[in-house]
Symmetry: C2
Subunit: 341 residues, 2 copies
């Protein structure tokens, strides 16, 4: 089996020149190019997958943009993305979008200047989607809607909302609260967002949850407190406000850290879980495994989301056609004591 070094020796050039010929990047004299192609032909040289990655990529760096890295969902997601990118020979650059107003333009510029080979985008957007549409470079949107030409990957949030609602109904709830991010509920694009807001398939879980509750005649309050913050104490403040304003609530649906804050606050107030209050959390991050009583959780397939996002990115970088522009992965319910009545 011929190697790139064999080709280089045969054509009497350096391996870098062979690489430039294969990738089409960088200047190679036409005469030299023909000689290299002839050597490739004569030696029957086929670059392997890994080598092809090396040829086609420009910098070997993929940027990952998340709202906040210290949020458990995003830290586990980026952990998985870094592992998958590393296995493919790529480096991972990260950006905390929550703190940085102009991150999008900065990163889109880096993508255009080819400082990075691609962007996995999992943050809020304040740039018109048209701007994304016009960039003909690899972008994968994770749980975000950036327009038809940008592939979008997410978990099956409709099913997640349905499973959560049905579990609370099964456990006998008649008066429930769901917490949605303040930015998750502005209704104007296909996924319910508008520029400057989170425009994400994740919001569908709230609509489905409310709908299932309505169908069963269960009272459902949707509270739009900010969910994203470096300080978990804000979740506690929101949980306390909920118990104060809605003392008769008997079921709660919220993201993992929020649900744990509700659990803690309930216990401090002397409410028994699950007897007085049933809980379902969303995301299924590791922290939910350490709660007492154990918490029923809708589990997003975080590791698979990470792997799939990277695979889509690698396909885009290599100029392959994606099998689908929209990929939805299944969620599962992991039952704990918080709904076992």
């Amino acid at each position: 089996m011929a190697t790139i070094q064999d080709v280089a020796r045969h054509a009497q050039v350096g391996a870098a020149t062979v690489s430039r010929v294969l990738s089409g990047n960088g200047y190679v004299k036409e005469e030299t190019r023909q000689r290299v192609l002839k050597s490739i032909d004569e030696l029957d040289y086929t670059p392997n997958e890994m080598a092809r990655n090396l040829f086609y990529r420009k910098t070997g760096i993929v940027a990952v943009i998340v709202p906040e890295l210290s949020h458990p969902f995003f830290s586990e997601l980026v952990n998985g993305i870094e592992m998958a990118l590393c296995a493919a020979g790529y480096q991972t650059m990260i950006c905390n979008a929550f703190y940085e107003e102009n991150y999008e333009l900065r990163y889109l510029d880096m993508l255009k200047r080819q400082v990075v080979d691609g962007i996995i985008f999992a943050a809020h957007t304040s740039v018109a989607v048209e701007r994304y549409q016009s960039i003909r470079r690899p972008i994968v949107a994770l749980d975000r809607y950036l327009g038809d030409s940008i592939p979008c990957l997410s978990a099956d949030h409709r099913e997640g909302g349905r499973l959560a609602a049905e579990e609370l109904i099964r456990a006998g709830c008649r008066n429930v609260v769901q917490f949605g991010g303040a930015n998750e509920t502005a209704p104007s694009t296909p996924f319910g967002g508008e520029h400057g807001w989170v425009s994400t398939p994740a919001v569908t879980r709230h609509a489905v949850f409310a709908q299932v509750m309505q169908e069963h005649g269960v009272t459902c309050h949707t509270r739009s407190d900010q969910w994203i913050t470096a300080d978990f104490e804000q979740y506690r403040v929101a949980a306390e406000a909920m118990f104060r304003e809605l003392p008769d609530v008997d079921g709660v649906f919220a993201t993992d850290p929020f649900a744990l804050a509700v659990l803690q606050t309930a216990q401090e107030l002397g409410r028994r879980v699950p007897q007085d209050l049933r809980l379902v959390s969303y995301d299924g991050t590791q922290m939910t495994k350490l709660a007492y009583p154990s918490v029923t959780t809708i589990v997003q397939p975080i590791e698979r989301l990470a792997q799939e996002a990277v695979q889509m990115m690698l396909d885009l970088i290599q100029g392959k056609e994606l099998a689908a522009q929209t990929v939805t992965l299944p969620v599962t319910l992991r039952r704990g004591a918080s709904t076992t009545v």
Copy 2:
């Protein structure tokens, strides 16, 4: 006050050329260089701090190497580092060292090839420290010992161990367990590690903890279970084993997720916290704020560690002398219900 644009206009060149002259990077004709220097002189132009950063840096990328990004301590640390680097105009590249055997050589090579401007190193090492000593490029070691020539930043773990021990003694403990990572206890370098092991100032807390307990005649077991893992269920398994093997334990000192696993297991076994078991956790990550009962915690100044690491890195990149090769930041005790008897 003259700007770089003023200089460029005055010298009739582009701003990029002025930048090249200032940084000494990239080709500039000698004649042009002289003209730019003359304009700088005539306009009395002084590049400001931010501009100087831009001139002196090569790629604007700093790599951060951690054992595992999804561990709460490291996700909060990298979150802070990314914010501080971003504010200084730098991009953050991350590497999960736990999964990757040859990451060190790969990143040291990237540093040599100037793909990155520096490395903030917070992972285990399997490379002889001499190798680090020989690299004359910016490296900051965070909680890791990489030899005398590499600056080392950490929290005051001696004080952390002492505070934890005194708190458990104050709460009446007579038979305590501390959990140390398996890799944290091999004694051979100044900080108690050897090649292939974690060689970290953090281990000093275990020695001090054990010593204070001994001075007070309290029985102290040190258990060296693996602490680092993507799956919190492993902490539960270790907690269950502890209660099985040491049923008379009345106090535990462990990292945050480990302490929460002990709390959960204790509650499942019907042990009351703090009456039957007192708990002190280490790190003070956000997750400790959501426990019930609330957990007493030794809080590392994670945000300050991040900011200080970045400041040291920026100083090194700009060729400044560091004020100190070893920087130690104070820890604090945050008292919760788990030691309130």
